[in-house]
């Protein structure tokens, strides 16, 4: 008689479970550690499915290499199907439960596949689409760092408070009285991720062309930003931008130099 070891069936089940845990739990944490991130990096579902299919195929090949192995593997399954009339009541109850669970699981799977699932529409939005070429090289003519600039800031401040304040707010924090009704909230210029991260030419493009100038990936249909070229001159827009950075207390990004 062979020494009592784990039967082939349970060994297979355990190995597959181990592979799954390795992929689902261990790998994300290892990659988090290796990539130096602060969150686990899960394996993509498609890759996960492929790995699991490979593991299953490996197990199937190993089991079917000879008839004895196959028989050994199938033995617990056959025992389950046959049942043991003399067995303990608990054992018999377990068998009935397992057998009943099969069709119920199949039913549940079919239901979840056919039931209409609705998800709230979400759209990915690119916050900073690429600036068009004709705007890229523009410089703010009023950023002169002299006394005249202070005067232009004062002029720009009035223009900002007249035109931009209703949405972007007196404090340039995106909290103007008109921000309330728009689902795509007006930009908060005090946030370091908005005007502080772009060059002034970028801000000029956004003010001048507004929602109409946005590419589709930046969901122009949700944007309440007017195309201010309809109502303001280029000079006024540059002054507003000067004041906007001043009110928000941030500095524009400096354009990179290409030598």
């Amino acid at each position: 008689m062979r020494p009592r070891t784990l039967s082939l069936f349970w060994a297979t089940v355990l190995s597959l479970a181990a592979v799954y845990l390795l992929l689902a739990v261990a790998a994300p944490y290892v990659s988090m550690w290796m990539a130096g991130r602060d969150q686990p990096l899960p394996i993509p579902r498609a890759a996960m499915a492929m790995y699991l299919v490979l593991a299953l195929a490996g197990a199937a090949i190993y089991i079917s290499t000879d008839d004895e192995k196959l028989r050994e593997f199938l033995r617990p399954l056959q025992a389950l199907l046959r049942g043991n009339p003399e067995g303990h009541a608990l054992e018999r109850a377990l068998r009935v439960t397992l057998l009943a669970a099969g069709p119920l699981l199949v039913g549940a799977a079919v239901y979840s596949q056919t039931a209409p699932a609705v998800q709230t529409p979400t759209a990915l939005r690119i916050q900073h689409p690429t600036i068009p070429g004709q705007f890229e090289r523009l410089r703010n003519p009023f950023r002169t760092n002299d006394e005249a600039m202070q005067r232009h800031i004062a002029e720009g401040r009035i223009l900002y408070q007249k035109n931009c304040r209703p949405c972007h707010g007196t404090k340039a924090d995106g909290g103007g009285p008109m921000a309330w009704g728009f689902r795509l909230k007006p930009a908060n210029f005090r946030d370091p991720g908005t005007i502080a991260t772009v060059v002034e030419a970028y801000a000029f493009w956004r003010v001048k062309e507004g929602a109409r100038g946005l590419p589709a990936e930046a969901s122009p249909w949700d944007s309440a930003m007017p195309a201010w070229k309809d109502d303001l001159t280029d000079e006024q827009i540059w002054k507003i931008i000067l004041a906007e950075y001043d009110i928000a207390g941030v500095a524009p990004r400096q354009p990179e130099k290409i030598e």
Binding site: R75, R82, P116, P177, W221, D231
Partner: protein, 534 residues
């Protein structure tokens, strides 16, 4: 620029902290600098409430030269305390253009600017004001609220604020402030717009101190402290806070029939989608003084029709309309000024519109939320209050199409009009129902409703007596409707068939396994297997 900022900062730190009452003989310089960069564009550099932005604001910015302040904790008619002013500067005034400066200006600077503001009316701040007494706070209970309700009737609060607190009392249309400008009594159901805060203590303070310069009196002489607390709790009980702020999808249930009567009880049984509205500020005429800031939307659908129920607060019922409807913009500033004076103003109706894309989007791309665009037109259902009670066969709803805000929306032909509607106004609130077949023959002009699809929808509201018509309106971004599809019978059939199949297969396996065992037993089982199978 950095040098200037540093100099400013240095001045702020060097300046002595502002003293309480009488204003110093010389205006504190840092306060002046802060005032001129942060406050002057609205309140005016001379404090007269006439800065370059002032004309576009409703309510107008405070004129500091009179020393009259609305939000005080002092006896009626007296100047505010420094702490009252500090609170207003720090927290801002909800529902107005006054922002909360607490997040931007350090406390010292806020104190400096207050000291400077007081120099505009030195005589008003010459004597120390007397504070109101608060007494022992009475806590809210059904009993205090009930007593407060009686006081609300007794003091005739409803004359201005209306029976249900929506600012629709009979005296409301005539109210003026001390400067002769028209003012509206507060809509007490909108706690998020209470000027001086909506806590019980805030309301108690307003009731006790009154609001200087406005028709809101002090009730110190009318009611004792306990009664004022009761009234405050009643007022707070009128607030209708949005239940689920930020919800985007209106899930629409199927129904046997759609009630056209907006006051039908079946509508009240539905949970509304609460949609905040802003002024149309995207194109001229830009409108930053919308009258309506929220609309409640409900809907039903049958296998043939869909019905919408729209509800919003409007203290005045405007059911007359002068054509031509569009008042011209003033063409000067970027925004249109609010003008509530009666003289020379066209009579305008109240109205509401639903906006849908003409074709359901297949991807994420939608028409622009303000009347669509040239590639993606929108379908509008425009209900108009002046069309109430029209002759039979006509409807108060006009269907239109728009392809962007550059061109006015075009009404559809008479045959294309399929929306029925009905509106009722009561106690400062409009309720409007619009019903249309799910699909119409006007493909390419009308939205076709499909259950199970997300259907973009946006809302427009006009208040006629507030001067709203055309692009002077309150509007929303895109929201979504979902007509919950009826459960198809297959949904239950497929799993049943699958379960029967799986059960049958299992039974067959069991049978086969048993037959095999009998066969092996008959042939004489191998010793190893017999030992294991038990």
């Amino acid at each position: 620029m950095i040098g200037a900022a540093a100099a400013l900062l240095l001045l702020v730190f060097l300046a002595p902290p502002a003293a309480g009452a009488p204003a110093p003989p010389q205006p504190p310089v840092p306060g002046k600098t802060i005032y001129e960069t942060r406050c002057g564009f609205c309140h005016g550099d001379a404090g007269r409430g006439d800065g370059p932005v002032a004309d576009y604001l409703d309510p107008r910015p405070r004129d500091f030269t009179g020393g009259i302040y609305k939000l005080t904790s002092t006896q009626s008619g007296q100047a505010p305390t420094d702490d009252d002013l500090f609170r207003t500067v720090t927290q801002g005034i909800p529902g107005t253009a006054m922002p909360a400066w607490g997040s931007v200006l350090p406390e010292a600077q806020r104190r400096q600017v207050i000291a400077y503001i007081k120099t505009f009316a030195p005589e008003a701040f010459g004597t120390a004001p007397e504070r109101i007494t608060v007494g022992t706070e009475v806590s809210a209970s059904s009993d205090t609220i009930r007593k407060g309700k009686e006081l609300y009737q007794k003091a005739k609060c409803w004359e201005c604020h209306g029976q249900d607190g929506r600012g629709d009392g009979p005296a409301a249309p005539t109210l003026k402030d001390d400067w002769g400008a028209r003012v509206r009594p507060a809509n007490l159901t909108r706690g998020w717009r209470y000027r001086g805060g909506s806590s019980a203590r805030d309301v108690f303070t307003r009731l006790s101190a009154g609001m200087n310069g406005t028709p809101m009196p002090s009730y110190v002489d009318t009611f004792n402290e306990e009664q004022r607390w009761q009234l405050a709790h009643y007022v707070r009980s009128l607030v209708r806070e949005p239940k689920e702020r930020g919800a985007v999808v209106l899930r629409v249930r199927g129904s046997e029939a759609i009630p056209l009567d907006p006051d039908d009880r079946r509508w009240a049984g539905l949970e509304p989608l609460e949609v905040p509205l802003s002024g149309q500020v995207i194109t001229r005429p830009r409108w930053q003084t919308p009258a309506v800031d929220m609309i409640f939307v409900r809907a039903f659908f049958t296998d043939k029709e869909i019905g919408f129920h729209l509800e919003w607060d409007d203290p005045f019922k405007d059911t007359r309309h002068d054509e031509p409807s569009l008042p011209p913009g003033d063409g000067k500033g970027p925004y249109v000024k609010l003008d509530l004076s009666k003289a020379g103003r066209p009579v305008l109706r109240d109205a509401v519109a639903l906006q849908f894309p003409v074709t359901l989007p297949s991807g994420p791309e939608l028409p622009h939320f303000v009347l669509g665009d040239r590639l993606r037109p929108v379908n509008l259902w425009h209900w108009m209050a002046d069309r109430q009670g029209d002759s039979p066969g006509t409807t108060p709803v006009v269907e239109l199409n728009a392809m962007g805000y550059q061109v006015p929306p075009q009404p559809q032909t008479a045959e294309g009009q399929q929306v029925r509607g009905k509106g009722t106004w009561k106690d400062g609130r409009w309720r409007v129902v619009m019903v249309r077949p799910l699909t119409t023959p006007d493909r390419g002009k009308d939205i076709m409703f499909e259950p199970g699809r997300f259907i973009p929808v946006a809302f427009h509201v006009w208040d006629g007596s507030h001067g709203e018509a055309g692009l002077r309106m309150a509007l929303s971004s895109w929201y979504y409707l979902l007509l919950e599809p009826p459960t198809p019978p297959q949904l239950y059939l497929y799993p049943l068939v699958a379960m029967l199949g799986a059960g049958g297969f299992e039974l067959w396996l069991v049978r086969r396994a048993r037959r095999d065992r009998l066969a092996t037993a008959a042939a004489g089982a191998r010793p190893g297997e017999g030992a294991r199978s038990t």
